[in-house]
């Protein structure tokens, strides 16, 4: 198979699913009324962005950026290593995303307690 075509298909698959996740998540955030659903949407967006990070850092045929005995051996053979920086960034981003999700969910619980509903279009006592 033509490696260029192959690469294209794979890239469409990876980028496509990442961008797809972002869009689906945005859709949930913009359309769905339930607070929990919106938070789910946010975490789906996050997932898409994280996938983009890793996809951008990926190098075809590269190995994980770990210099264990095997890793050194592979590097000596001329194998590239994938870019470690996006991975480090995603590590941070995942944890931050978790923190935000936790706070969001606690707010959802609070809101449900006060409003007895979790529909965002019913929760607008602050306006104008």
């Amino acid at each position: 198979m033509d490696p260029i075509l192959y690469n294209k298909i794979i890239s469409v698959g990876v980028y496509g699913s990442a961008i797809g996740l972002i869009l689906i998540g945005l859709y949930a955030v913009l359309v769905k009324k339930h607070l929990t659903k919106i938070v789910i949407g946010l975490s789906i967006i996050d997932a898409g962005v994280h996938l983009l990070f890793i996809a951008v850092g990926f190098i075809k045929g590269g190995t994980a950026p770990i210099f264990s005995e095997k890793g050194i051996e592979l590097v000596n053979q001329g194998t590239a290593m994938v870019d470690p920086v996006p991975q480090a960034l995603v590590l941070t981003a995942i944890v931050i995303g978790f923190g935000v999700t936790a706070v969001a969910l606690s707010l959802v619980i609070r809101l449900y307690r006060h409003h007895h509903t979790a529909r965002i279009d019913h929760i607008k006592s602050l306006k104008w």
Binding site: I22, V29, L35, I38, L42, I45, D46, V49, L52, F53, V56, V85, P86, L89, T92, A93, I96, G99, V100, V103, A104, L107, V108, R110, L111, H114, H115, I123, K124, S125, L126, W128
Partner: protein, 494 residues
């Protein structure tokens, strides 16, 4: 241990991690520790500002032993130093104000002070850091602390405001992450100086896309229209000291990041016009919306948004004088809006409702508070001889120098609207028919103290602006000197 910019981050963090333990020793320590830390940081600011002013060179601190492009660094230049010092100063006063502000349980008090201190640290970190991803991290610290503090009272509206803030804030961080990612793929580094240096190699289309993502993400933090839906809610529902913190620190950090991105990172001229346009729209809509508010804190929030629009306009003009005016306005806004939030909070606290109507005649019970509030109101609408006048004057002169007289006219027209709603409150405070409610909550001594300090600063700067203009002039020069920023940061260790 030499005093260095990293103290701004390390010590509050250390204190924050210590505080849960200290809470077990003595409950009061929880409330005192942040003040001690902030006071120390004020001292640090004074020392560092002195050093920076003497040498004229920024202090670039490398972290973890890795010099500029490889590791993260903190840049304490005359520009960032000015903002940081302002932030720490304001934070100290706000701490004094919020000390025993309201009676809360011990457990929430602990959380409150931790979150408050982290809010300060996050904002300071955003300004200090020289690394774009690190800026994102600090922004998230600020954001999470803000979300939690917005709903600190756990009431119905607080939770609502917090959730809205969180929703929009999450989108902001998403866009910012995407922008950082794209930037990284293009220039292969996260250090802002190096990004700026390599920016010319990025294809134009990509550059604009990245800029748009940044502008959207950071515009949310900077309360730019139409991304500022969260702001009035958050300001009005957060505890008043936190509202003051938002106005004095958090927004400043947002505007700073926006300005840093546009002025230093990118070299797109259209961005300046964009700032002017968005600034005008933000200013107009916010001031008009403020006009019809019935809730005092909401009114202050809209006014705050409007002022940020004004700041953006000034930055958008982009000349040295305009940037100077913008920084001056940021300084003024921090001080004045904090004063308004602080004094306003006592009125709201003591009135029957949160409405402006409920404030009728309350100035008679709190004559001193009323006096302070009036000073704040006069200053923020830019009446001489208060400090707000000078910043407005400088910005207008800068705009006129660029022969943007229509812009000046718009700003002045909007200022009239501002005058109307502020003076309505002042008139109501003093001369409305008083309600019969007893005075329940006297301000604490700390409250009096911090508000008095702010009022004194307003008057001092108003009567003699030159005590502060020197710093601001140098800060403006530093911000505009992009080449010096790049060479200073990248030359460390080479």
């Amino acid at each position: 241990m030499v005093i260095s910019p990293v103290h701004y981050i390390a010590l509050p963090l250390l204190a924050a991690f210590l505080m849960p333990l200290l809470a077990k020793v003595n409950r009061e320590l929880v409330r005192i520790i942040p003040g001690v830390v902030l006071t120390y940081l004020l001292f640090v600011s004074v020392v560092l500002m002195q050093r920076v002013t003497e040498t004229g060179q920024p202090i670039i601190e490398t972290l973890a032993g890795w010099q500029a492009p490889w590791g993260i660094n903190l840049v304490f230049s005359q520009f960032t130093g000015f903002l940081v010092s302002l932030m720490v100063f304001m934070a100290t006063l706000i701490w004094i104000f919020s000390y025993r502000f309201k009676k809360v349980d011990n457990e929430p008090a602990l959380k409150y002070y931790i979150l408050f201190m982290m809010l300060v640290t996050g904002s300071v970190g955003v300004v200090l850091t020289g690394d774009i991803f690190n800026m994102f991290v600090f922004m998230e610290i600020t954001a999470i602390a803000s979300y939690s503090l917005t709903s600190f009272y756990r009431d119905r509206d607080g939770a609502e405001a917090g959730f809205k803030y969180l929703l929009i804030g999450s989108l902001a961080s998403t866009f910012m992450l995407l922008a950082i990612l794209l930037l990284y793929t293009q220039v292969g580094t996260l250090n802002m100086a190096m990004i700026a240096e390599r920016m010319h190699t990025v294809p134009v289309g990509m550059k604009v896309t990245i800029l748009i993502l940044f502008l959207t993400g950071l515009g949310i933090e900077a309360e730019m229209f139409p991304l500022n839906g969260w702001a009035p809610d958050a300001y009005s529902q957060a505890p008043s000291p936190v509202g003051a913190t938002f106005a004095a620190l958090v927004v400043k950090a947002g505007v700073y990041s926006l300005i840093r991105v546009i002025f230093t990172l990118f070299d797109i001229q259209g961005a300046y016009q964009y700032l002017i346009i968005m600034g005008i729209i933000t200013l107009i809509i916010a001031e008009f919306a403020a006009m019809k508010q019935t809730n005092l804190k909401r009114m202050l929030a809209y006014s705050s948004i409007g002022q940020m629009g004004f700041v953006l306009i000034a930055f958008g003009i982009g000349t040295k004088e305009a940037v100077f005016g913008a920084l001056f306005l940021m300084f003024n806004h921090a001080i004045i809006k904090s004063l308004l939030f602080m004094s306003g909070s006592f009125f709201v606290y003591n009135s029957t409702s949160k409405d402006i109507k409920g404030l009728s005649g309350i100035g008679k019970k709190f004559p001193y508070m009323g006096f302070l509030f009036s000073i704040g109101a006069f200053a923020i609408v830019g009446l001489p001889p208060f400090s707000g006048f000078w910043s407005k004057l400088y910005i207008l002169i800068a705009a006129a120098d660029e022969s943007m007289l229509a812009l000046v006219a718009i700003i002045l027209l909007v200022s009239i609207v501002e005058i109307v709603y502020y003076f309505r409150v002042v008139a109501k405070l003093y001369f409305g028919k008083p309600t019969d409610k007893e005075v329940v909550h006297k301000p604490t001594f700390g409250g009096y103290f911090s508000m008095t300090v702010l009022a004194v600063v307003i008057l001092l700067v108003g009567f003699y602006p030159d005590i502060i203009t020197g710093f601001i002039h140098r800060a403006a020069d530093t911000l505009l000197d992009k080449g010096a920023y790049i060479s200073n940061v990248l030359s460390v260790g080479h």
